[in-house]
Symmetry: C2
Subunit: 127 residues, 2 copies
Protein backbone atom coordinates (compact mmCIF):
# COMPACT_ATOMS: atom_id res chain seq x y z
CA UNK A 1 0.00 0.00 0.00
CA UNK A 2 2.26 2.70 -1.27
CA UNK A 3 1.34 5.98 0.39
CA UNK A 4 -0.49 4.44 3.31
CA UNK A 5 0.22 5.62 6.82
CA UNK A 6 2.60 3.01 8.14
CA UNK A 7 5.47 4.33 10.25
CA UNK A 8 7.61 1.32 9.29
CA UNK A 9 6.84 1.73 5.60
CA UNK A 10 7.70 5.42 5.71
CA UNK A 11 11.19 4.56 6.97
CA UNK A 12 11.55 1.64 4.56
CA UNK A 13 10.65 3.85 1.59
CA UNK A 14 12.87 6.71 2.71
CA UNK A 15 15.69 4.19 3.01
CA UNK A 16 14.84 2.75 -0.42
CA UNK A 17 14.79 6.23 -1.96
CA UNK A 18 18.19 7.01 -0.44
CA UNK A 19 20.01 3.94 -1.72
CA UNK A 20 18.39 4.04 -5.13
CA UNK A 21 19.68 7.64 -5.32
CA UNK A 22 23.16 6.31 -4.47
CA UNK A 23 23.14 8.28 -1.21
CA UNK A 24 24.92 5.83 1.07
CA UNK A 25 25.14 8.24 4.03
CA UNK A 26 21.43 9.02 3.90
CA UNK A 27 20.61 5.31 3.55
CA UNK A 28 22.78 4.44 6.54
CA UNK A 29 20.99 7.11 8.61
CA UNK A 30 17.99 4.74 8.67
CA UNK A 31 20.05 1.75 9.81
CA UNK A 32 20.27 1.02 13.55
CA UNK A 33 23.76 0.60 15.00
CA UNK A 34 22.85 -2.91 16.15
CA UNK A 35 21.01 -4.00 12.99
CA UNK A 36 20.79 -7.74 12.38
CA UNK A 37 20.37 -8.55 8.69
CA UNK A 38 19.97 -11.99 7.18
CA UNK A 39 21.21 -11.77 3.60
CA UNK A 40 22.03 -14.43 0.99
CA UNK A 41 25.69 -14.37 2.02
CA UNK A 42 24.81 -14.93 5.70
CA UNK A 43 24.02 -12.90 8.80
CA UNK A 44 25.33 -9.34 9.06
CA UNK A 45 25.50 -7.83 12.54
CA UNK A 46 25.95 -4.11 13.12
CA UNK A 47 25.86 -1.02 10.94
CA UNK A 48 29.51 -1.33 9.85
CA UNK A 49 28.95 -4.81 8.41
CA UNK A 50 25.77 -3.58 6.76
CA UNK A 51 27.62 -0.66 5.17
CA UNK A 52 30.26 -3.04 3.81
CA UNK A 53 27.45 -5.04 2.23
CA UNK A 54 25.43 -2.23 0.68
CA UNK A 55 28.26 0.16 -0.20
CA UNK A 56 29.76 -1.97 -3.00
CA UNK A 57 26.27 -2.75 -4.27
CA UNK A 58 25.51 0.95 -4.77
CA UNK A 59 28.62 1.20 -6.93
CA UNK A 60 27.21 -1.28 -9.46
CA UNK A 61 23.58 -0.11 -9.21
CA UNK A 62 22.29 1.64 -12.33
CA UNK A 63 18.54 1.63 -11.68
CA UNK A 64 15.65 0.27 -9.63
CA UNK A 65 11.91 -0.05 -10.07
CA UNK A 66 9.62 -0.45 -7.09
CA UNK A 67 7.37 -3.52 -7.40
CA UNK A 68 5.51 -3.50 -4.09
CA UNK A 69 5.63 -1.80 -0.70
CA UNK A 70 3.49 -2.56 2.31
CA UNK A 71 3.81 -2.03 6.01
CA UNK A 72 2.23 -1.71 9.42
CA UNK A 73 3.39 -0.08 12.66
CA UNK A 74 6.58 -2.11 13.06
CA UNK A 75 7.24 -4.05 9.89
CA UNK A 76 7.47 -3.26 6.18
CA UNK A 77 8.15 -5.18 3.02
CA UNK A 78 9.66 -3.60 -0.08
CA UNK A 79 10.13 -5.48 -3.35
CA UNK A 80 11.92 -4.04 -6.36
CA UNK A 81 13.75 -4.92 -9.52
CA UNK A 82 17.25 -3.51 -9.67
CA UNK A 83 19.41 -3.01 -12.71
CA UNK A 84 23.13 -3.36 -12.10
CA UNK A 85 26.27 -3.27 -14.19
CA UNK A 86 26.81 -7.04 -14.10
CA UNK A 87 23.14 -8.16 -13.98
CA UNK A 88 20.40 -6.48 -15.99
CA UNK A 89 17.45 -7.58 -13.85
CA UNK A 90 18.04 -8.46 -10.21
CA UNK A 91 14.81 -8.45 -8.21
CA UNK A 92 15.08 -8.14 -4.45
CA UNK A 93 12.84 -8.20 -1.40
CA UNK A 94 13.43 -6.77 2.04
CA UNK A 95 11.38 -7.27 5.16
CA UNK A 96 12.42 -4.71 7.75
CA UNK A 97 11.52 -4.14 11.36
CA UNK A 98 11.60 -0.49 12.38
CA UNK A 99 12.07 0.91 15.88
CA UNK A 100 12.36 4.62 16.67
CA UNK A 101 12.77 5.44 12.99
CA UNK A 102 15.62 2.99 12.38
CA UNK A 103 15.78 -0.42 10.76
CA UNK A 104 16.79 -2.90 13.46
CA UNK A 105 16.08 -6.17 11.65
CA UNK A 106 16.18 -7.04 7.99
CA UNK A 107 15.57 -10.11 5.90
CA UNK A 108 17.12 -9.52 2.51
CA UNK A 109 16.32 -11.86 -0.39
CA UNK A 110 17.77 -11.92 -3.88
CA UNK A 111 19.18 -14.55 -6.18
CA UNK A 112 22.97 -14.57 -6.02
CA UNK A 113 23.38 -16.90 -9.00
CA UNK A 114 23.61 -14.24 -11.75
CA UNK A 115 26.03 -12.14 -9.67
CA UNK A 116 28.28 -15.14 -9.05
CA UNK A 117 28.15 -16.01 -12.76
CA UNK A 118 29.10 -12.45 -13.73
CA UNK A 119 31.99 -12.52 -11.27
CA UNK A 120 33.26 -15.81 -12.69
CA UNK A 121 32.93 -14.52 -16.25
CA UNK A 122 34.94 -11.44 -15.34
CA UNK A 123 37.62 -13.53 -13.63
CA UNK A 124 37.93 -15.64 -16.78
CA UNK A 125 37.95 -12.71 -19.20
CA UNK A 126 41.18 -12.06 -21.11
CA UNK A 127 43.06 -9.11 -19.66
CA UNK B 1 -0.95 -7.03 7.82
CA UNK B 2 -1.85 -10.60 8.53
CA UNK B 3 -5.58 -10.88 9.02
CA UNK B 4 -6.45 -7.62 7.29
CA UNK B 5 -9.20 -7.52 4.71
CA UNK B 6 -7.33 -7.64 1.45
CA UNK B 7 -8.89 -9.81 -1.26
CA UNK B 8 -5.48 -10.39 -2.84
CA UNK B 9 -3.90 -11.31 0.48
CA UNK B 10 -6.69 -13.78 1.24
CA UNK B 11 -5.91 -15.66 -1.96
CA UNK B 12 -2.14 -15.39 -1.43
CA UNK B 13 -2.43 -16.82 2.08
CA UNK B 14 -4.80 -19.61 1.02
CA UNK B 15 -2.33 -20.49 -1.70
CA UNK B 16 0.56 -20.35 0.81
CA UNK B 17 -1.35 -22.58 3.24
CA UNK B 18 -2.04 -25.11 0.48
CA UNK B 19 1.54 -25.49 -0.71
CA UNK B 20 3.02 -25.50 2.78
CA UNK B 21 0.57 -28.36 3.48
CA UNK B 22 1.96 -30.16 0.40
CA UNK B 23 -1.44 -29.92 -1.27
CA UNK B 24 -0.38 -29.31 -4.87
CA UNK B 25 -3.90 -29.60 -6.32
CA UNK B 26 -5.30 -27.09 -3.84
CA UNK B 27 -2.36 -24.74 -4.46
CA UNK B 28 -2.87 -24.95 -8.22
CA UNK B 29 -6.55 -24.09 -7.79
CA UNK B 30 -5.41 -20.53 -6.99
CA UNK B 31 -3.21 -20.28 -10.09
CA UNK B 32 -4.69 -18.73 -13.25
CA UNK B 33 -4.36 -20.77 -16.44
CA UNK B 34 -2.43 -17.92 -18.04
CA UNK B 35 -0.22 -17.07 -15.08
CA UNK B 36 3.04 -15.29 -15.84
CA UNK B 37 5.66 -15.89 -13.16
CA UNK B 38 9.14 -14.43 -13.06
CA UNK B 39 11.27 -16.82 -11.03
CA UNK B 40 15.04 -17.12 -10.52
CA UNK B 41 15.27 -19.68 -13.34
CA UNK B 42 13.43 -17.36 -15.75
CA UNK B 43 9.90 -16.62 -16.87
CA UNK B 44 7.23 -19.30 -16.52
CA UNK B 45 4.11 -18.90 -18.64
CA UNK B 46 0.95 -20.87 -17.98
CA UNK B 47 -0.30 -23.12 -15.20
CA UNK B 48 1.41 -26.25 -16.56
CA UNK B 49 4.85 -24.61 -16.45
CA UNK B 50 4.07 -23.29 -12.98
CA UNK B 51 3.08 -26.76 -11.78
CA UNK B 52 6.35 -28.19 -13.12
CA UNK B 53 8.17 -25.55 -11.09
CA UNK B 54 6.35 -25.89 -7.78
CA UNK B 55 5.60 -29.63 -7.86
CA UNK B 56 9.21 -30.78 -7.41
CA UNK B 57 9.75 -28.09 -4.77
CA UNK B 58 6.93 -29.49 -2.64
CA UNK B 59 8.66 -32.87 -2.70
CA UNK B 60 11.72 -31.45 -0.93
CA UNK B 61 9.81 -29.05 1.35
CA UNK B 62 9.89 -30.01 5.03
CA UNK B 63 8.64 -26.81 6.66
CA UNK B 64 7.91 -23.12 6.29
CA UNK B 65 7.54 -20.15 8.59
CA UNK B 66 5.63 -17.05 7.54
CA UNK B 67 7.73 -13.89 7.92
CA UNK B 68 5.39 -11.22 6.53
CA UNK B 69 2.18 -10.94 4.54
CA UNK B 70 0.58 -7.76 3.25
CA UNK B 71 -1.86 -6.93 0.52
CA UNK B 72 -4.40 -4.60 -0.99
CA UNK B 73 -7.24 -5.14 -3.46
CA UNK B 74 -5.11 -6.53 -6.29
CA UNK B 75 -1.64 -7.25 -5.03
CA UNK B 76 -0.13 -9.17 -2.12
CA UNK B 77 3.34 -9.92 -0.85
CA UNK B 78 4.19 -13.00 1.18
CA UNK B 79 7.63 -13.64 2.66
CA UNK B 80 8.60 -16.86 4.39
CA UNK B 81 11.51 -19.02 5.40
CA UNK B 82 11.29 -22.54 4.04
CA UNK B 83 13.10 -25.61 5.26
CA UNK B 84 13.90 -28.15 2.57
CA UNK B 85 15.75 -31.45 2.40
CA UNK B 86 18.82 -29.97 0.66
CA UNK B 87 18.77 -26.48 2.24
CA UNK B 88 17.95 -25.85 5.89
CA UNK B 89 16.90 -22.22 5.56
CA UNK B 90 15.70 -20.94 2.21
CA UNK B 91 13.80 -17.66 2.54
CA UNK B 92 11.51 -16.66 -0.29
CA UNK B 93 9.32 -13.75 -1.31
CA UNK B 94 6.38 -13.67 -3.67
CA UNK B 95 4.54 -10.67 -5.01
CA UNK B 96 1.30 -11.81 -6.60
CA UNK B 97 -1.41 -10.06 -8.57
CA UNK B 98 -4.86 -11.55 -8.04
CA UNK B 99 -7.82 -11.33 -10.39
CA UNK B 100 -11.15 -13.10 -9.80
CA UNK B 101 -9.63 -15.17 -7.00
CA UNK B 102 -6.69 -16.44 -9.04
CA UNK B 103 -3.03 -15.49 -9.17
CA UNK B 104 -2.34 -14.09 -12.64
CA UNK B 105 1.11 -12.59 -12.09
CA UNK B 106 3.89 -13.57 -9.74
CA UNK B 107 7.35 -12.33 -8.97
CA UNK B 108 9.15 -15.08 -7.08
CA UNK B 109 12.45 -14.35 -5.35
CA UNK B 110 14.80 -16.73 -3.60
CA UNK B 111 18.51 -17.39 -3.64
CA UNK B 112 19.32 -20.33 -5.89
CA UNK B 113 22.95 -20.59 -4.76
CA UNK B 114 22.44 -23.08 -1.89
CA UNK B 115 20.17 -25.27 -4.04
CA UNK B 116 22.73 -25.35 -6.84
CA UNK B 117 25.48 -26.16 -4.33
CA UNK B 118 23.43 -29.01 -2.86
CA UNK B 119 22.78 -30.38 -6.35
CA UNK B 120 26.48 -30.28 -7.19
CA UNK B 121 27.40 -31.93 -3.87
CA UNK B 122 24.90 -34.70 -4.58
CA UNK B 123 26.23 -35.18 -8.12
CA UNK B 124 29.75 -35.52 -6.72
CA UNK B 125 28.80 -37.85 -3.87
CA UNK B 126 30.07 -41.42 -4.04
CA UNK B 127 27.33 -43.80 -5.15
Amino acid sequence: MIGSTSPALEVALAYYKAWTNHDLEKAMSYIADDIVCDAPAGRLVGAAAYRDFIGPFLQILTGSELVAAFGDDEKAVVMYDTETLPVESAPGAECVTVKDGKITRSLFIFNRVPFDAARRAQANAPT
